[in-house]
Symmetry: C2
Amino acid sequence: MKKIAVLGFGVVGSGTVEVFYKNKEALEKKAGEELDIKYILEIRDCPDERYKDKFVKDFNVILNDPEVAVVAEVIGGVKFSYGYVKSALEAGKSVVTSNKELVAKNGAELLRIAREHNVNFFFEASVGGGIPIIRPLNQCLSANEIDEIAGILNGTTNFILTKMIKEGMGFDEALKIAQELGYAERDPSADVEGHDTCRKICILASLAFGRHVYPDNIHTEGITKITLEDVRYCESMNSVIKLIGFASKRGDDVAVMTCPAVISEESQLSGVNDVFNAILVRGDAVGDVVFYGKGAGKLPTASAVVSDIIIAAKSHGTSKTMRWEDSEQDFIIPYRKLENRFYVRANTDRRTAEEIFGEVRFLSRDGAPDNETAFVTPVINEAEFEEKCGKINVLGSIRVLDY
Amino acid sequence: MKKIAVLGFGVVGSGTVEVFYKNKEALEKKAGEELDIKYILEIRDCPDERYKDKFVKDFNVILNDPEVAVVAEVIGGVKFSYGYVKSALEAGKSVVTSNKELVAKNGAELLRIAREHNVNFFFEASVGGGIPIIRPLNQCLSANEIDEIAGILNGTTNFILTKMIKEGMGFDEALKIAQELGYAERDPSADVEGHDTCRKICILASLAFGRHVYPDNIHTEGITKITLEDVRYCESMNSVIKLIGFASKRGDDVAVMTCPAVISEESQLSGVNDVFNAILVRGDAVGDVVFYGKGAGKLPTASAVVSDIIIAAKSHGTSKTMRWEDSEQDFIIPYRKLENRFYVRANTDRRTAEEIFGEVRFLSRDGAPDNETAFVTPVINEAEFEEKCGKINVLGSIRVLDY
């Protein structure tokens, strides 16, 4: 019999407990032994009568109980989580978590501590909710050198962009609906400014390239500047705007960025709508594979947490493949050196656009004012692009990515 | 140092050796120890000078060498493979295979033998080529009860259907191009008659539901009867025709079938074109997840074989989750009891169609002859549908599936 402790009884925590007890019998068969949740750490007074014998308020009860073999951290944030997870690993307990902030910030260290204590630190739920991505990347694609990862990693912003694209709704209105439906927080900045996506692409990049990529070093743009005019122009070239996190191997270095991107309708990422996520992985042997599903929500995230619990419960010793090293960030290419095509909308005329940017592709939309010109530039580096943009009145610009 | 033997040096075998040596250093890091291919079993005289020291013609050399820890079977068919795989497992060697025919036919037995000898029998490459599906289904989604699996599992037929849908090409012409490009065999029946898809959905169903589903018990239809007229009618209802293998849990029983299906353009499966494959998995916690990529080909398949080799090399003892039991086939619902909507094209008039099938939805296409009527029926069971079809001159019918 292996005992489990769940830290936190919020949305994901209560989902984890629900999924565990719903499918307990099948899970035990898969784990090859009996399993039970012994503790639920929660500061509120017994929020669920069914589990009243399990609630504790003091983490030390869990830490000091040698019966607890697996700890599931689903509190979120790093304030409490970091200390809890670290001390659980040091006490020889495996930890599974859905906490992308924690993994993006402290992944290398926590994986090292897990290794030193011959236990596991799993985080399938930290990226893509219930979509299997961490383990497939790490195991099923392990024969490959990974050349590229690009994903729609945030359901909230994808919901907003879908409303703008499919229903012609403005950003503010779409955000309001997302908040009403519970998809966006009252303070939506972590989502709409791209920080959530950034954390997730950092985790995937760290895993794929073996060296920790810290969010603070990654150029990150959100979707707050995207307008319906941009959506229409992109439509005219059979493309859609998506918030993309990408990590790309360039020789020994990597390019990592979070930004809105113009994506062709031919791409598998273009049809990913509403709160769904998708991650494209490009390997040297396998080519492109795409993983698609619900990137958030109570039960999808709990699906990944509970699956990790099962694998942790039946594991003997640390997984050898799941590791990346702490690192200087010198292998991350400064974003201003990267090259892209850009979509540009500006208050200028076609001749001026061509004089500045060279051979551009002009776009059109119904009802455009006379002094508005939209076009796609040739491939150009970021620094040069910025400099050229200084010469005209740019209303909006978005990178054009080929996925 | 773990030694590997590769059985077969055809397309997948040579790809396996190529991928292994290309990424050897990184693979050894992931496996946590040195690895090498010691033998390649091949009846032809040394087909590749680079590996001349490795070629052997007698399987017993491999079987009797205690240094060989992992055997990769990529011969295909069951004639030789079955005996080789069985005796390798009995000799305490782990086996990985890309052989769907072998797994669909003998999976339960070979998994049992692997268990009895505390080794592994892995077959990620047997379904979806390089797309991670076996291990994600088995591990990352293990918290879920699987309700449904539906996939585009055969690249050859998907290529042909894509040519018909996108370019208005007839079946025969599209097949000829597929053969010229090497996507279809000279005798294309295993692909176009649906047998390849059937084997793959049987493997996925066995894994998801824990009981062996044998291909012989599964109703299987191919794409040879699909016409351009059908393609056009389906287009008029924003749908496409795809060859689908599906397995669906209905209480304690399961429905499994391989058939062409009318799929809405809204579905994630509808945009899967050319030789690409995609598999949709519906779990009770995670909802729908979709796995997409190249379902065949030298390097994508080798990607899965080599990844399995790495996992087998670093495993201690049999994986507990990867198992299904042999079984009577009484849990498989006879297909004539299943219910569906059907697309029908017939030489009849609208009134007769309504009299026979009830409230149908009529479809139209440019250039249809006066005596041709096409429509979608209400939900109706297969036996009843067949009986009703006997009353008119049906030119074609296809199931309408909601994925």
